[in-house]
Symmetry: none
Subunit: 196 residues, 4 copies
Amino acid sequence: MNSPGGTPLKSTVDPRIERSRQVILRAALDELGEVGYGAFTIESVAARAGVGKSTIYRHWSDKLSLIANAFQTLHEEQVPDIVTGSPRERLERIVRHVADVVAGSIFSACIPALIDGAERDLGLRDFHHRFQAHARQPLIDVIAEGVATGDFPHYVDAELAALGLLGAIFFRRLMTSVPFEADQASRLIDTVLSPP
Amino acid sequence: MNSPGGTPLKSTVDPRIERSRQVILRAALDELGEVGYGAFTIESVAARAGVGKSTIYRHWSDKLSLIANAFQTLHEEQVPDIVTGSPRERLERIVRHVADVVAGSIFSACIPALIDGAERDLGLRDFHHRFQAHARQPLIDVIAEGVATGDFPHYVDAELAALGLLGAIFFRRLMTSVPFEADQASRLIDTVLSPP
Amino acid sequence: MNSPGGTPLKSTVDPRIERSRQVILRAALDELGEVGYGAFTIESVAARAGVGKSTIYRHWSDKLSLIANAFQTLHEEQVPDIVTGSPRERLERIVRHVADVVAGSIFSACIPALIDGAERDLGLRDFHHRFQAHARQPLIDVIAEGVATGDFPHYVDAELAALGLLGAIFFRRLMTSVPFEADQASRLIDTVLSPP
Amino acid sequence: MNSPGGTPLKSTVDPRIERSRQVILRAALDELGEVGYGAFTIESVAARAGVGKSTIYRHWSDKLSLIANAFQTLHEEQVPDIVTGSPRERLERIVRHVADVVAGSIFSACIPALIDGAERDLGLRDFHHRFQAHARQPLIDVIAEGVATGDFPHYVDAELAALGLLGAIFFRRLMTSVPFEADQASRLIDTVLSPP
DNA sequence: CGCTAACCGAGACGGTACGTCCCGTCTTTAC
DNA sequence: GTAAAGACGGGACGTACCGTCTCGGTTAGCG
């Protein structure tokens, strides 16, 4: 049910179904951002979406899969980056973007819920990990490219370096009271990858 | 007023209180580690501790403050490090220790719960952030020392570097399916702080 | 608005509701009769009725309104009397019936609970008093008729006489260890209304 | 424990004990009259009496026996009647007194609680019944005397007549919204025992 | 078009945990 | 050595949601 990437076999579905899904997902995201995971209730989402509770359960098996699915819809708003400039420049642009997103967005508001949910629900965990791996890849690629071109030191392990950069940003979001700000991106990159 | 000599009003407390607190906190930690934050139940803790539910509510106002308090008791098991060796050696020892703790321990099992709880409860958040800052400090210190002694490059920002190292470890724990292993500590340090 | 012909908005109700009400009221009466008002427990009623506690609270706001409502269902079992015979004969039949009911029946088992409940809950008190007035009326009527026909002394106040007869029966039930038995009905009537 | 009529074997008791008993009984009666049986709690009585909960349990085995004992202290305030006048006059004086007491007094406020409590607790029931029998006796006696002197008809059963008179008063208190008033005493007696 | 099947909202249902209150017992400390 | 203070295990309260399940009512799209 409700497989993230599955295309329907039937060429056309009842338009009411799609309409319900949209309304509910939107309401779920709003709710999650507003009250957080702990106070997130299906009944609130249903009320907010102007929909019966059963309509939600008709499309998602439980609370967590609704949340997981809602996250996917956020995925589309990514892909911010272009391919111009040196690896260093492109890396900085990516890091700034990540910092911005993590600093404040619906997505950011939902991260703790996602982390906790992933701990308890296998399906959600899988989605979470795959999603992160996917989002991490461009960063790794651009670092690897920079190592190849000599923009970054040869001893740099692209994967570990990407982990250090992302980790710093997420660590600040999740473990401290002061989130990482985009302006610090340059100094972070200098520290981790040595200055140009 | 009552006592002539200005003696403290309550010099000692009922020993049962302390005993109950210990038993309950222990049970709470066990429960948290086992079933996680989402399935954490006061009633289960009470049963596990062999205690009435009301005894728990007599000492903690609600679920979250119990959890917050339980975490504080984990604070004692830190202080792992010694002061011998070069900054590089001591840094690696610290990183390995953190990696070990994050890879598997009651504390590790509770991190997602802590992160999620901190998002909704102000008191828990404060505790969480103060606790992390405290635990982070030795790492920052040893990096700063290494920069001063020339063991690490002069351009390194100790705080950002510490963030990168810790962030990498926690990121792997929270956002990927493969936790960071202590064996990778050396390579991580090389990447972030350049090799010796 | 929606329906063109101005049809009632909700002609029928979910049949499950009525079914639940029946089952629960029955269980509540049984429970009341068995364990009494003091030990009457919503949770026991739920268990006895094979119903979730929330189903009870969905229909009744609290314990007392459930009890009050349960009593109303006893209202139906009255109407025992016919209209044949002299006033004296009919009076005796009524008194015997009351004595029988008060001596032993679910209703009788619940009287103390009802009296006590009525003392604290306005709604229950109203019901209790209205119910009693209703049940008292036939007795008053037949006495008044007897006074008119000369079967009873002219100085008899029908209402006070009815009170005396009923009072004697209830007093025995509530304030003594020996309930009034139907066989004594004749002598009671003779005493209060003088012999034929 | 705490048998209603038992005299202590020891000639002298610790005066604190007696003092505690008095304070607690007084507080219990006040509490009962104010909040009723349903909201009557030991903890409230303890607070009102300025006494520890355990002090109450040291003297009474449970809530009901405290209440029962409290009632006994009301017994002393009875004995209202004198022995002058004809049986009819003395009867009326007794009935008026009962009506007054039942219409409004701490005792009256506690009757429903007592009735309900007696239904569930054997000890309380015994006390209740014995207490009532005792209080009923003077009424029976004076009626019997009146029958003997010819003041009342020869066919009158003194016990049933007393039951009718008392029953009428209590019935009005417990089962109707209009309590019996002392002014109606004369007419009630006329109806039940025929006019002089 | 008109029918019928699917989908819908509404919300009742059996549950479970919440956090509160009070029970009656038991322990500790102060007077 | 008694009493106050109050901690304790227990259990019912009434509330909030869970995820499941009927209900009629309303579309949609096929025939």
